[in-house]
Symmetry: D2
Subunit: 353 residues, 4 copies
């Protein structure tokens, strides 16, 4: 089932951009756990739009309504269902799109797959809004991971041509993972990056970027060889986030130009435990964690909805046509996607532990 992920703690997502509500059912949570909903709300707020010129003008409170699974704030072992209202929907904006699929969007592929019955309003089930329940579920999983000493963070590695510094893959602290405010490590980058995104927005265009995510505290020995390796488990869920087109672990595509003598991470005792002197492996050897930080980067494509005129086809008339997209859209979704990538990583890791 494509809207569902996880075998020990599973998340079943439902809803479309303009359905009454969206939400998810989280099954497999341990009973007796008291989630800190306020902290989850903070992650939801990091993901929320409507705050500045480079994100969508759509404004939603994104307040979670927990329908089942909690008794007096404590998990009871039954599936936890959480829902969010869709209030600020302007369905009228989307009427033209039924006939003219937006380039870079799922309009055309959804049309083929559903025989034209897909919910076109706001992108339907392909909308980035569906990452809201994902973010809730992952934020909750982050709390479960913290009980086990595992901490997850992410930051913007780049937006278009503007780069942040990367994580130190060997010495990475909780502080590094939880930057205040705008999610970059080098605070001087923020101003350049925000100005750049604003300019792109003013052009009526959009831009992509890279998000780097890391988990510290993962003990060695989790994950499996072959098809349940840590890389594959994380990749499967990260590619579930709309707009992700690539993922790399540790040195990633950089390994292609490295020699074995450079890429191999030498082992050493650091007194207490075995570590590696470098971390080109991104904390994963043979699909199994080696106790070093798990690190990956993923590529986010530019928001396909842009204000410029684009070439497309008219499915009704079976002719070539042009399209100008109306409505409210993020010119760069990378900042908002940061907590979503953390959430996805958390769901993958909790299912490995």
């Amino acid at each position: 089932m494509s809207n569902r992920i996880g075998n020990s703690i599973s998340v079943q997502i439902f809803g479309q951009s303009h359905s009454k509500v969206i939400g998810c059912v989280i099954e497999g949570l341990p009973a007796g756990f008291t989630p800190d909903i306020e902290r989850i709300q903070k992650d939801l707020d990091r993901r929320r739009g409507g705050k500045n010129r480079y994100s969508t003008a759509r404004s939603e409170a994104d307040e979670p309504y927990i329908l089942s699974g909690l008794v007096d704030g404590v998990t009871c072992g039954a599936p936890l269902c959480v829902s969010f209202k869709n209030k600020d929907t302007k369905s009228g904006d989307y009427s033209e799109l039924r006939d003219k699929p937006r380039p870079g969007h799922a309009d055309y592929t959804a049309y083929v797959r559903t025989g034209g019955h897909n919910d076109i309003r706001g992108g339907g089930e392909f909308s980035g809004r569906l990452t809201l329940p994902l973010c809730f579920a992952g934020s909750l999983c982050k709390q479960l991971l913290e009980i086990k000493g595992v901490y997850i963070g992410a930051h913007i590695a780049s937006v278009g041509i503007v780069n942040d510094v990367l994580y130190d893959p060997v010495n990475l602290t909780r502080q590094d993972l939880e930057p205040e405010g705008f999610p970059v490590l080098d605070k001087d980058v923020q101003e350049v990056m925000e100005r750049y995104m604003t300019e792109i927005a003013e052009e009526g265009d959009s831009v992509g970027g890279v998000i780097e995510c890391a988990a510290i505290g993962m003990p060695a020995g989790y994950g499996s060889p072959m098809f349940e390796g840590v890389e594959g488990e994380i990749a499967k869920i990260i590619f579930g986030i709309p707009a992700i087109k690539g993922i790399e672990f540790g040195a990633g595509f950089g390994v292609a130009q490295m020699k074995g003598s450079q890429n191999n991470d030498p082992f050493e005792y650091d007194g207490r435990k075995i570590v590696t002197q470098t971390n080109n492996a991104g904390g994963i050897l043979g699909g199994i964690t080696n106790g070093m930080p798990v690190i990956f980067r993923c590529a986010v494509k530019p928001t396909p909805s842009i204000a410029k005129e684009q070439n497309t086809v008219n499915l009704q008339r079976k002719t070539n046509d042009t399209l100008i997209i109306k409505g409210r859209h993020d010119p760069c979704i990378v900042p908002r996607a940061v907590p979503v990538v953390e959430a996805a990583c958390a769901i993958a890791l909790i299912n490995l532990l």
Copy 2:
């Protein structure tokens, strides 16, 4: 289960580098299908080593023994079990490795995961040799895909600093996918690349690379939103191949620097059907095929087994130590991995159709 992949046609792999046999059980094959075993053998031969100075001296016939599932050469609907003998094993070479994990290998992580009971001989179940049954299964799936008009090919995009040209993502033909001999598109690259790998081998070192893979003929409308998108399904199995550290689809990490107006692939009618003018999406929108070639690249790390002395630890004595790896190893596994990547892609795609 980590040695198993696929829900409609599943592949369950078994064996270790030095077990009596290795093999796999393929379940879900349609009854009444006559696999062309000779063509499969050709793919197995492309994967086989022992042929030149930059691949391992271990020599195996890699001849498949089909134990069940075929009656007079025709599938009968029962699971097909195929096995391969492990003959040319020199288990004595590996005795030292029990105590001293090889950097870049799964020795240490397998040790932790199994409490030291892992099969250390030849890398045990983490050996690249396990890609042999994967290659068999995928080569068979390629034949099933061809019946549906889907063709898969791969080539070396780069080895270390030496690059091949890339596929034309829009106009890609069967001929492009099936190059004769050494798997590069630009035949002038072959000599440079082979000399480069030989030099690396002579240094006692190894080198990584990138493999590009494509499928043509995939109809629009296959795959699903979110967690069963085509990217995620392919990524999950590709990361099952040892040594893969990154994957990207279409423009891949390149999207991070692109604007929406550049990255969006405009739709047009080509007379018969809807196509896109560019193919930055790698044939996938919203997790669903759009009818254009499905294209991805994956990063292969340098073989961790190198002849040079390396730093490691001694698990027995709990001290730092050094290690010189003996035995036979590929200084560059990229050429041999090409048919394996095709095989993995085929298994992913047949499960989508």
Copy 3:
């Protein structure tokens, strides 16, 4: 995941007896399908209590709220989430049960499994109320099956010592499957059965029964050998209904006393197609449908909540104790379970087609 069933059309159930809402998420429905909600409501009404002296006094409207997955009444391919309000809850009734587990209920096992964090109110997630969303999902699947010519029905085979006649396993019509009113085939049985149940209720006791279910129109060739046989697929979901303790197909436990010459169903051409002269196999051979009616019976235990004093333990004081259960309970759930068994069967069969 234990609250989820089905691989092609999956049902994820959520909620507890006294949570704000209960419901389910149905994924995998074909797009473009217009469910007849009124007909579903009729099945929900058949399942609903509060109508007479032998069912619970708890009264709920059981009106479905569809939160996602429908656009203008038509499925759009996204998961359909339906919820039901829990209004008529009297949580105060259950306070004593935290310490004194009710015999025959899941109170004690849920206590052990959740470390005492289970939702004790109304049986929590073990309540028969959770069959409401199951009934919705299955009723919807019945409509999908009808499109394919498959019809499902069930009736009370027995309540305590009162028996209905059984289905004719060879010649079974749609009319047989859809009796009006009280779900017995022999209308003379109704009065005896209802009076019997009323007497049991007046004793403060409860009673079990058997439900027989059948599907006609299933084409030959569906299902698989071994672990995905039709029997196993149906059994797995039927045992998901609380209170079911046994299931048998065709001649069922009767086969144990039969000889092969009696039990074997001879094949014959009926002009158009191959049929069997008897149907001891219940329409299933080797786990695969043979085109005859699929027939099974399942045993429903007496409602464990009875008004009589019972022996139990006090978990708090770690002593033996006695218990008198208050609250509203069905003395016989068999009549209400009839549409639930149909629903479960429908979910199993739609996943086989």
Copy 4:
């Protein structure tokens, strides 16, 4: 996948009655475990035929060849593949059956499902011979369960009209579970039962029966509500054994005639722990173990292969026809199925722990 069962320890079965070998791949075994192969061989011998007048004359050594997963007799964490040779095959016997499906067999349904490509020799993948690798896998799981203090046994509850006594559902000991020799509890029953089966054999007929299976030592709290309840998990795998047509837990179909006051098992402290005074629940409440013996019975149909002439159809000529089955067949498979039922139960339970 229908030849595969289990999520934490999975068993993938392969082979047909007359393929070169049959076997299975067992994944998820803990590393560092030393299976006692001789004890497994004893279970395989209990299952083996060729020993007396009421079982098939086909004689196989049924010696397991372990192809992978063990190093010096110890599990290494890699999948364990075991194979068995098929030596004593007389494929010539089966030629007529391609056209004339045997009543009660899967010949016809397999024909429809595979378009006539099924392996007809010896019943192909529907043969009871496939229970041999199942028996191996389950016998190995029994050893893993014993480490956790869980013991499984089964006996013949009845063959045709001859009944053994049943297990004491409350006080059940290891000794009860491991009867010497012929698997009945009341040794006086053996002679009557064997004579009865011999008579049936002499008639050229066959007969069914019931097997009762129990597990002691299962701690309370395992299993889940709804679709992963203990009943459903056991039922799914038990119905994977050919010829099973019904299963019931605890009082089983007997609950249908019971009142709640009779069926409810009162709790009490037995000093150390909580027990129930009766065990009508068969050790399972709400799908979860309650610490009492897990008990179930399953109905085995008479072997469909009988020597008497039977009515069937001719698929080639599309006419009615008659058939006399040649070859070697068990007139009663119940005795041989006893260790298979134990094995299936063991695989279900190890996956719950």
